[in-house]
Amino acid sequence: MNRLESAFANKPIFMPYFPLGYPDLETSVDVIEALAKNGADLIEVGLSFSDPLADGPVIQQATQVALEKGITVKKSLEAVKELRKRGVTIPLILMGYYNPMLAYGLEKFIRDAKEAGTDGFIIPDLPLEEAEEFQSINGDMPLIQMLAPTSPDERMEAIARNAKGFIYLVSVTGVTGERREVSNDLGDLIARVRSHTSAPVCVGFGIGTPEQAKQVGQLADGVIVGSACVKMIGSSQKPVETAKQFAAEFRSALSGLRK
């Protein structure tokens, strides 16, 4: 069993997102380490891009700060290596837009990411239709596929058929960011996805509180928390302490649901 498969041994899992370089590189590495060692089962490690068109204001602003402080793809990959050195053993998935990867060089990017200790990729602007170039170089490392409430059944089937790692189910139409309520239709949506795949189904976009995480965790195999995590930790005077607490709270909200 690889790191990613082991992570799903106990479901539902808690999957926070945090961008490298925010509020600065050193702090972001400490934060991700703290999340990893205090309850996160998998972390989406964010790569920054100047034009993050799938992201809401919180992540836009954080990645903008990271860029202003000088984050690059190269520094981000070195940071992943550093996290492994510090004994972070949970899966780390790189989440970023396609252009910086192209600029770095796809072959080099994929090779360096693997060497650094990455377990997979999430690329929001690379739908199945455009994934061939990346996949021909990538080989067997999971390129996590996203499904949306707007995906019709035939697309769901085509996308889910070859899904590796897990399915990233976007719970609402929209950009990343907290929502007041969990969608009523989420159960039906997850059931639709499950009819096409046995891969774990993780839900993201709009989950901001441990209570919402618990609601979603009753239905899904994993709960993805992005904007709320970035906002809470980013606005804290003691980001690392806040990260520990944040991870522990979400973990405990989900622990009761574990079989």
Binding site: S50, D51, L53, A54, N99, P100, P127, T150, S151, T173
Partner: protein
């Protein structure tokens, strides 16, 4: 599973680099567009609006005094500045708005740089009874104030964009974010020949009326095809529209003019084809094309005196035309464009948009190198009333 109805790439360029939430909308849009183009009723309705509302065909004007002044080729202007709302943008805005009605959607969002596409979208929305939200960078709002007021008069909501560079690229980001949120009832009325497939094709098709008319008018008025066709290129919709009429006439030279800003060497420009140090093939706003970017793949800030050309990427079909050398691309600086602006005012009694002034600037360079029996056709894509504040500021009060 990549089975699009229409070709989704232009050589290695184009494609559909968008979040999954939008893929079904792009597939629906393509299928609706294909069925509309095969539907005589749709085409009749479009043609009727082009004639009775937009005022097409727009005239072809022989620029006698400009030709004499430059002393070389004879110059003809395709007068898109005389189309309703003052620019070519209305052709595409009305075409897409008719598609929106067909799809049963009720709301459109649009981006705008110079404001011309925003005004065109607001106009189409008012005419067809659609709700309209226009995203516009706050920098552009400041320099295109008259158009902001126009959009509001036409019933559109103008939402200022404060993120990133606060210009066209950021307005596109916000329009896409709105679209991804409201995709079930909202259409993104993209104004240039860029973005994910099928937009570059749809926009070209609705703008191809420029090239079709111009070709016929050239044959009628000058008795021949032009030797050279010149158009400015931001995203590239007016250029692709006029080029499409001549692309199969191999002897006709096609020239696109990018924004040279303060000069290529200054780094402050929007010349995607002109600056090999900053422009590389990349992916932005759903399409693969030439993109001005830094070495880490972050999209570069651009500069142009004309908001409509101030964009870091170029439409994917232009990238292909450039690679296969069917078209050539050059640039004009802010200063050259402002001089061309004045020249056209004085010699022809026409106040051109600053965007179109870039094309005129190339005419001023090119015409004197040509013989008097040769002919240049330039697409005068828009009128300059919207730019008066900028021009007054740039030229002083003299």
């Amino acid at each position: 599973m990549s089975t699009t109805l229409l070709p989704h790439k232009f050589g290695p360029y184009g494609g559909q680099f968008v979040p999954e939430t939008l893929m079904p909308a792009l597939i629906e849009l393509e299928s609706e567009f294909v069925s509309a183009r095969n539907d005589p009723t749709f085409n009749q309705e479009f043609d009727k609006l082009m004639a009775s509302f937009v005022g097409r065909p727009t005239p072809l004007t022989y620029a006698k005094r400009l030709s004499e002044k430059l002393g070389g080729a004879q110059i003809y202007l395709k007068r898109e500045d005389l189309a309703h709302t003052g620019a070519h943008k209305i052709n595409n805005a009305l075409g897409q708005a008719l598609l929106v009605k067909r799809m049963g959607k009720t709301r459109i969002v649009a981006e705008t740089g110079a404001g011309q596409h925003g005004v065109a979208s607001a106009t189409a929305a008012a005419l067809l009874g659609l709700e309209c939200v226009v995203y516009m960078g706050s920098v552009d709002i400041a320099r295109q104030e008259p158009n902001v007021f126009r959009m509001k008069l036409l019933g559109a909501e103008v939402r200022p964009v404060e993120s990133g560079t606060k210009t066209l690229k950021d307005a596109i980001n916000e329009a896409i974010r709105d679209w991804v949120t409201n995709v079930r009832d909202t259409h993104y009325l993209l104004g240039s020949a860029l973005g994910p497939h099928p937009y570059p094709t749809i926009v070209r098709e609705f703008q191809s009326v420029i090239g079709r008319e111009a070709r016929e008018q050239m044959l009628m008025d000058a008795g021949r095809l032009p030797d050279t066709v010149i158009a400015c290129v931001g995203g590239g919709s007016n250029a692709i529209g006029v080029f499409s009429g001549f692309v199969n006439d191999e002897a006709v030279e096609l020239i696109g003019v990018e924004a040279g800003g303060s000069g290529i060497a200054s780094g402050k420009h929007a010349a995607r084809f002109g600056d090999a140090t900053k422009a590389r093939v990349g992916v932005i706003h759903g399409t693969r094309t030439y993109v001005l970017q830094d070495e880490d793949g972050q999209i570069a800030e651009t500069h142009s005196v004309s908001a409509g050309l101030d964009y870091a990427a170029v439409g994917p079909e232009h990238a292909m035309l450039r690679d296969n050398e069917r078209a050539f691309y050059t640039s004009a600086t802010d200063e050259e464009a402002l001089n061309a602006f004045q020249t056209l005012c004085h010699t022809e009694g026409i106040i051109p948009a600053l965007e179109s002034s870039h094309a005129i600037a190339e005419v001023i360079k090119k015409a004197p190198t040509m013989r008097k029996d040769q002919v240049i056709l330039v697409n005068l894509s828009g009128r300059g009333d919207k730019d008066l504040n900028t021009v007054i500021k740039e030229m002083g009060n003299g």
